[in-house]
Amino acid sequence: MTQSFVLRAGERGHDVIYSEGSASSYVAGHPGSFISRESSFNFHQYQSGRPGFGAVRVFGDETFHGAGCGYNMHPHHNFIICAFVLEGELTHINTAGRGTVDQLRQGDYYVFSAGSGGKHCELSISPEDMHAIYLWLMPNQLYLPPSYLRAHFDLRTRRNRIVQLVGDSDGALPVAQDLRVSRLVTDRRTACTYTQRSPEHGTYVFVKEGELRSGDVTLGPRDSLGISGVGKIECEAADTTDVFLVETVMLDAGGLSAWEQEHGDHH
């Protein structure tokens, strides 16, 4: 059965977290630094609304404003956290294995699996704003060995087709979940088809910029669409468009379906 929802930009969660005051132990940066966060799904206690999609628990785009702004070192277990840097420079520090200090710029992305326990720190050191998309994913096993992988998506050479960034394709970063993250960047009008692993999978389609049409739905900047129960997703992107597609196994954990029934927004 086909199920879908449309989440418009204005319906997403919106938070501003300052480096001063109650969040000061969590948020790094000089006084006046702040993080702005637009979340599609429930980000811990900060947002009401749709609690997730398949194995995805967080899909948000965040901007770190001000020199040194970001998240101080803090612990995680189990969650797989991915970041896709859109603008600025992200300094990422983690304790997986022997630990890593990494700096990521436009097109760079990472997959950090906290597994049996890993800490991380996310910072924008320079005065330039840092803008990234963050995903938090449920893993397919608990207490995996912590790991960190990073790669680069070349926006200039990989245009006008859907490119898999995370998943099981050649060149994609592997992830311990039945899940794939792909990206479509266009510089001309592009019609394309995304084929799901099976009709039981679901795909969350997020338009970072530009315009995407799928069936009778037109999505603008920061609008998104979740769809499951279809084999293929046909879409047409406008000439300057950037889209993220997250295909996931549709876990029915944590009362996601109960939330959907209560809110009755599936059709």
Binding site: H44, H77, N78, F79, A114, M138, Q141, L142, G254, G255
Partner: protein
């Protein structure tokens, strides 16, 4: 005990997991302690998230995982 399905729950703040079968002996919770029997004001030992922000999960362990989880 085997006839009872023991639950696993995950903290939505940080991913810390609680397994009823394993308990959290390091935090004074004996193996076999049901989620319902943990006080409502209990918080995630790693990040301070409230008990109500944990989500039940049906996910198995990686090799050696249960041992690590019990000493978390």
């Amino acid at each position: 005990m085997n006839a009872i399905t023991l639950k696993r729950l995950m903290c939505l703040g940080c991913g810390f997991s609680y397994d009823e079968a394993l308990g959290l002996p390091e935090h004074g919770i004996a193996p076999g302690t049901r989620w319902a029997d943990i006080p409502e004001d209990w918080i995630c030992p790693d990040c301070g998230t409230s008990k109500s922000q944990f989500e039940m999960v049906v996910i198995g362990y990686a090799d050696g995982g249960p041992l690590l989880a019990q000493s978390a």
